[in-house]
């Protein structure tokens, strides 16, 4: 199958800064793909490379098998939902949505009909006559989405699409984007620094670090089997365990990761041998459904989450930690 987007050894350097560095990646058609990473990790540059706002310094990019280098943004069948929405303030909502069709020379009646349909798709029917300035942030977001979708792109790019929305709206939009993507079958590529958003929405996630991809995979794999210390730490704040510690439990001298929820906290100290880890409770952090405990195991800082209602030790008290050997994940990264 021809990938929707394919990067082959792509680099984009800005002077000495390697924003994207020798990166290879295939995004499959119909996939909901997330590019996750901290700011400056190269994820947004990747998105701009697909859109055509940036050209690669080296390597090649193809979109549905067609080479994309040198093709200007307006000749690519790819549309973008911008972080600040970038709606045209001098046009009303309907003309904003119909813009792509207008520049292609579609007749007025036809493009307005298509724009109305796109607005209905994002659940904003009848908003056509309003100005972008009269809409709320969430509504503007939907207009930006409709404006991109009306062109029937093969790939839809979303740059931090939910970044500017408040929490409740963000959760609603997550579900809506996901069902919209399912219904339309268009390849969605979205950039985010929010690991929760990436894990809950995407079919596959690429974790970016310093211009390279640290790991690509299904959300479950990324979460449960992080490939590197960076991924373990960035995605869901796993406990990163040093090789010496891991050797005691698995016999292999490799870096390991252990999810906070995989740790059982037993009251009372006195752990012996390989039965448990002696630790001291440093701090408790109440999170509602769970409580997060910060523990000190002979100099190693660990975090554990326990369900609400569990019997909790007092701060400074000695406890014994235990976990299943299977939940200890050995990372690819060596000692």
């Amino acid at each position: 199958m021809t990938p929707a987007v394919s990067f082959q050894g792509v680099s984009r350097h800005f002077g000495a800064v390697k924003a994207v560095d020798a990166l290879s990646l295939d995004i499959q058609p119909g996939e909901f793909f997330a590019m996750l990473g901290p700011s400056g990790s190269g994820k947004t540059t990747c998105l701009r490379l697909i859109a055509g706002f940036e050209q690669p310094t080296a390597g090649s990019i193809s979109i549905f098998g067609e080479r994309a280098e040198g093709v200007p943004p307006y000749r690519r069948n790819v549309n973008t939902v911008f972080q600040d929405y970038a709606l045209f303030p001098h046009l009303n909502v309907l003309d904003n949505v119909a813009y792509g069709l207008m520049v292609k020379g579609t007749g007025k009646a036809e493009r307005h009909k298509a724009a109305e349909e796109a607005l209905a798709l994002v659940r904003l029917p009848g908003y056509g006559a309003r100005r972008p300035g009269q809409l709320s942030g969430g509504q503007r977001q939907r207009v930006a989405l409709a404006r991109a979708l009306v062109n029937q792109p093969k790939v839809l790019l979303l740059d931090e699409p939910l970044g500017a929305l408040d929490l409740k709206l963000r959760e609603d939009m997550q579900e809506e984007l996901k069902s919209l993507q399912k219904a339309l079958g268009i390849t969605f590529v979205f950039v985010t620094h929010d690991q929760g958003e990436a894990l809950s929405m995407a079919d596959r996630v690429a974790v970016f670090n310093e211009g390279r991809i640290a790991q690509v995979g299904a959300p479950q794999d990324i979460y449960q089997k992080p490939a590197t210390r960076f991924v373990a730490d960035f995605v869901g704040s796993s406990n990163v365990l040093p090789p010496d510690f891991v050797q005691r439990w698995s016999g292999q001298k490799r870096w390991g990761s252990l999810r906070p929820e995989a740790i059982r906290v037993n009251l009372g100290g006195g752990a012996k041998g390989n039965e448990g880890v002696a630790a001291r409770l440093v701090a408790t952090n109440y999170l509602g459904a769970t409580t997060r405990l910060a523990l000190d195991a002979d100099g190693l800082r660990l975090h554990a989450t326990v369900p609400a209602g569990s019997a909790l030790p007092r701060e400074g008290e000695q406890v014994t930690l235990s976990f299943n050997r299977e939940s200890l994940h050995l990372m690819e990264e060596g000692a």
């Binding site: 859109a51 055509g52 706002f53 200007p72 943004p73 307006y74 000749r75 790819v78 549309n79 973008t80 911008f82 972080q83 600040d84 970038a86 709606l87 045209f88 303030p89 001098h90 813009y99 792509g100 207008m102 520049v103 292609k104 404006r147 991109a148 062109n151």
Partner: protein, 271 residues
């Protein structure tokens, strides 16, 4: 910030404000009044009599018409040049980063900060050095130096308020460079350009100093007026022309003010 919009100002302040306004505008009114006097050699007060004859006399003076026509043509062409160059320059400065950008921005604004006499002398020496004879185009060139600034300042202020991703969004939606300029850039800067263009027109229309150095024997309206004041002949004709000039320059400035009052300052209007 005003704490209370409805609070009335104290009486002395009102009087002071009224005096200030009168001081500014009474002399202009006086110019209008003298357009209707029967005395043609001196400015006699009170007016010895009231007449409308000077309007007819002015109408029939060919020198008035040629000065007026020259001024209008110079102002129109300078404004046109300023619109094209000012827009291009402001787009370059605000849309891209390049070496020497700040310097270029400063160099563009400099002519309006420099005294007109410097610009005038500089242009005159440049023209004589290169053996360019004085013509319509030398005046236009002189005026364009400061007209560009006015357009540039207005356009730059507007560009600064326009989101950069809007242009990218237009490309992204399939519009090429020309379509993007026509459908997105131009509508967003149109009022700023109109305001800048009108100001440029008004500035050019009543410019004296630079014109003196670049006009040679040609007479624009302000130059013609100065000549008239030296040779007292049908003096009220000057007042009639002055009235027309006030109208011609005041209306565009007023219009420019209305077009940009929501937000943009009309940069360079102080010249």
């Amino acid at each position: 910030m005003r704490s209370d919009r409805n609070a009335s100002a104290p009486l002395p302040l009102k009087v002071a404000a009224a005096c200030g306004l009168l001081f500014l505008h009474l002399p202009i009114l006086l110019i209008f009044v003298y357009a209707f006097t029967t005395e043609e050699k001196t400015f006699q007060w009170p007016l010895p009599g009231f007449t409308l004859q000077w309007f007819g006399v002015t109408w029939n003076r060919p020198d008035v018409w040629s000065a007026l026509s020259l001024s209008v043509r110079v102002a129109a062409i300078s404004t046109l040049i300023a619109l094209v160059l000012g827009t291009l320059c402001s787009a370059a400065v605000s849309r891209s980063k390049f070496f020497g950008r700040e310097t270029i921005s400063l160099l563009v604004i400099l002519p309006i900060a420099l005294p007109g006499i410097i610009t005038g002398i500089a242009l005159r020496s440049a023209f004589s050095l290169t053996d360019i004879p004085f013509s319509f185009w030398t005046i236009v060139l002189g005026h364009a130096t400061f007209c560009v600034v006015v357009v540039y300042n207005n356009a730059v202020a507007r560009f600064r308020r326009t989101s950069g991703s809007m242009i990218e969004a237009s490309y992204d939606l399939g519009a090429d460079g020309f379509q993007t300029f026509r459908h997105v850039v131009l509508p967003n800067i149109a009022t700023a350009l109109l305001a800048g263009g009108m100001l440029a027109f008004a500035l050019s229309f009543d410019e004296v100093i630079v014109t003196t150095f670049t006009a040679g024997q040609q007479q624009t309206v302000p130059i013609w007026m100065l000549e008239e004041l030296i040779r007292p002949r049908q003096r009220p004709v000057t007042n009639v022309v002055a009235m027309v000039v006030v109208m011609v320059t005041f209306l565009p400035i007023l219009l420019a003010y209305y077009l940009t009052r929501d937000g943009d300052q009309i940069a360079g209007s102080g010249k």
